[in-house]
């Protein structure tokens, strides 16, 4: 450690763009590398999608749609949407864990791009989203789900889901920064996401719901997104619900991005 006394060159004033990118990638690696020695993590990511898929199809399927095959065809896009929304909260939980464990402070005390910790985490979480989507489509196909469109439709559905999830992750970042501890994030997530995803047409046709509920169900972004993903995977109207979904995504980003950035700055 004799090198300690060597005077360091004058420090740079800010982080260059390419350095910022490399730092973001390092932090993405950091969020994903855990999976390598803890394959259980991947299982954690997968258990919920698979369980929901099986439970909904075989428990509710017959009762709701008359046959499990028909129900699967209807509900898989809805389940994909629900899972994507829940998954955005992994960002909040990860961020909050970093804050409570002191990792966040350590990163902020380093001469790195201010956005790298956030961006790295979101990129890693997007990769996890992709994995869950892949799993849904794979297992769904084994169970009898049939994509009726084509590659373009599937790619469109993936792109739409990721765009929406990215907008939602601003809210997630805000929650992660504000919550006292990761358990609080879980509780909040559950009490927000459950009603949000269930008051939609993701799992059931809405015509037996009371009128006042249908008013909400029709504007609920989950309904719009589920419809758009249905259209993109099994055919049907795409443009209308897709545009509504994107408008919702834009609205979420407009509201939550500034709030999240302010919360992030006030910690900086």
């Amino acid at each position: 450690m004799t090198t300690m006394t060597v005077p360091a060159p004058a420090p740079a004033k800010r982080v260059g763009l390419s350095a910022g990118f490399r730092q973001t990638m390092t932090l993405t690696w950091r969020s994903l590398v855990q999976i390598k020695h803890n394959p259980m993590e991947l299982l954690d990511l997968s258990v919920q999608p698979v369980m929901f898929l099986l439970l909904f199809t075989y428990v509710f399927g017959g009762a709701i749609a008359g046959s499990t095959e028909d129900y699967l065809q209807f509900a898989l896009p809805g389940l994909v949407v629900q899972n994507a929304l829940f998954a955005t909260l992994t960002t909040a939980i990860g961020l909050n864990t970093d804050i409570t464990k002191g990792v966040f402070d350590r990163l902020r005390s380093l001469p790195i791009a201010r956005t790298a910790p956030l961006a790295g985490r979101i990129i890693a979480d997007t990769a996890k989203q992709l994995w869950a989507l892949f799993l849904f489509l794979g297992i769904g196909t084994i169970l009898g789900f049939r994509i009726q469109t084509g590659v373009a439709g599937v790619l469109g559905a993936v792109a739409l889901l990721l765009a929406f999830a990215l907008a939602m992750s601003w809210m997630s970042v805000l929650i992660g920064l504000k919550a006292k501890d990761p358990e609080k994030v879980q509780i909040f997530a559950f009490s927000l996401m459950m009603p949000l995803t269930f008051t939609s047409n993701a799992f059931v046709p809405t015509d037996t719901m009371p009128g006042w509920l249908q008013v909400w169900v029709d504007v609920n972004p989950v309904t719009q997104l589920a419809d758009a993903v249905r259209g993109l995977l099994i055919g049907g109207e795409v443009a209308g619900p897709a545009i509504s979904s994107l408008l919702w995504a834009a609205a979420l980003a407009v509201v939550f991005a500034p709030l999240a950035i302010r919360a992030f700055r006030s910690r900086t």
Binding site: M1, T2, T3, M4, T5, A8, P11, A12, K13, R14, V15, A19, R22, Q23, T26, L27, W29, R30, V33, Q34, H37, N38, D98, K101, G102, V103, F104, D105, R106, L107, R108, S109, L110, P111, I112, A116, R267, T268
Partner: protein, 322 residues
């Protein structure tokens, strides 16, 4: 003299409470400043401001000549920070934690690995390098955290209660690491609740209480500033204790306290000693022990703040991590 850390009039408010209420600090290059104070005195707030994690509401501070608010990025490239809670990613291995920091600091992959191995070796963690940090003991985690703050070879190191909650052995180990760093010329600001720690390591000590610096100086200076030295007299015959108390009270015009068969009093004027000896001699009282010593830092702290320094309760809670 060049100062590695300079702070003037730092103020930080949280609602009504003033976590910092006008704090000045000066640390010359290569010295270790011990910031001593109980929980909630503002030590951590000061460290967070100096380490660019928190903006002050008032006052200015610079580290290595760079302003912590306006030139935060430059400050960050000079400093290392080890917080109260070990800032390591528990799901990553020891090696990965250090490689991650190295990569973030723009080391090549090979250099980051080499640096990680070097630091693990130095902190006796090589055997555990491949294990997830969550399997580490409290002492190991703290060492890994310190290693992480050294990856970038910082010129200024902030150690925020680095030994809180550690067992005595881990504590002594950490002290020796800090001494090595001092030998390398690193400037250190160390906060602690332990008087002994400040006494052992610090060149200079400042005492914080309620967001203010209430005393500063070297350990010896502080022991002298309360003015008092401690006089202890133990009579050979225990039944003479009352006489001793009487004599001391007469000479210093203050009743001494009696503990463990001794009369103990704080005195300002060393000339009282011969006077006491003469009076005792006249009365035929033989003292088996008669001493005048400097106050311990504990006594200084108590005299300065009116309450003891160490928060035993907080310790008991922290001990879980050890």
């Amino acid at each position: 003299m060049r100062y590695a850390i300079q702070a003037e009039g730092l103020v930080k408010r949280y609602g009504e409470t003033r976590a910092l209420d006008g704090v000045d600090l000066l640390v010359p290059q290569g010295r270790l400043l011990g910031v001593l104070g109980p929980n909630g005195a503002g030590k951590t707030t000061a460290v967070r401001i100096l380490a660019t994690l928190l903006r002050p509401d008032g006052g200015t501070a610079s580290v290595g000549g760079f302003d912590v608010a306006r030139q935060a990025h430059q400050v960050r490239s000079l400093i290392g920070l080890t917080g109260q809670y070990a800032g390591v990613d528990e799901t990553l291995t020891g090696v990965e934690n250090l490689v991650m920091i190295g990569r973030l600091l723009e080391l090549s992959r090979a250099d980051a690995r080499a640096r990680a191995a070097e630091l693990l070796e130095r902190f006796e963690l090589t055997h555990a390098g491949g294990r997830a940090a969550k399997t580490y003991s409290g002492g190991m985690r703290r060492r890994l955290d310190l290693a992480a703050s050294l990856v970038g070879r910082p010129q200024v190191l902030f150690l925020d209660e680095p030994t809180t909650g550690l067992d005595p052995r881990s504590r002594t180990e950490l002290w020796s690491v800090v001494r090595d760093l001092m030998a390398d010329g690193v400037t250190v600001l160390l906060t602690t609740q332990y008087l002994e720690e400040a006494d052992q390591l610090a060149d200079d000590i400042v005492v914080f209480d309620h967001g203010r610096v209430i005393a500063s100086g070297t350990s010896d200076e502080l022991k002298a500033t309360t003015g008092a030295q401690v006089l202890e007299v133990r009579p050979l015959r225990p039944d003479h204790l009352d006489l001793v108390v009487q004599v001391v009270a007469d000479v210093i015009a203050e009743v001494p306290t009696v503990t463990g068969g001794k009369a103990v009093a704080s005195v300002r004027d060393p000339a009282v000693v011969p006077a006491i000896v003469r009076r005792l001699d006249d009365l035929g009282v033989v003292a088996s022990e008669l001493s005048l010593r400097k106050s311990s830092l504990d006594e200084v702290f108590l005299a300065l703040t009116g309450h003891p320094a160490e928060d035993r309760q907080a310790d008991a809670k922290e001990e879980v991590f050890a």
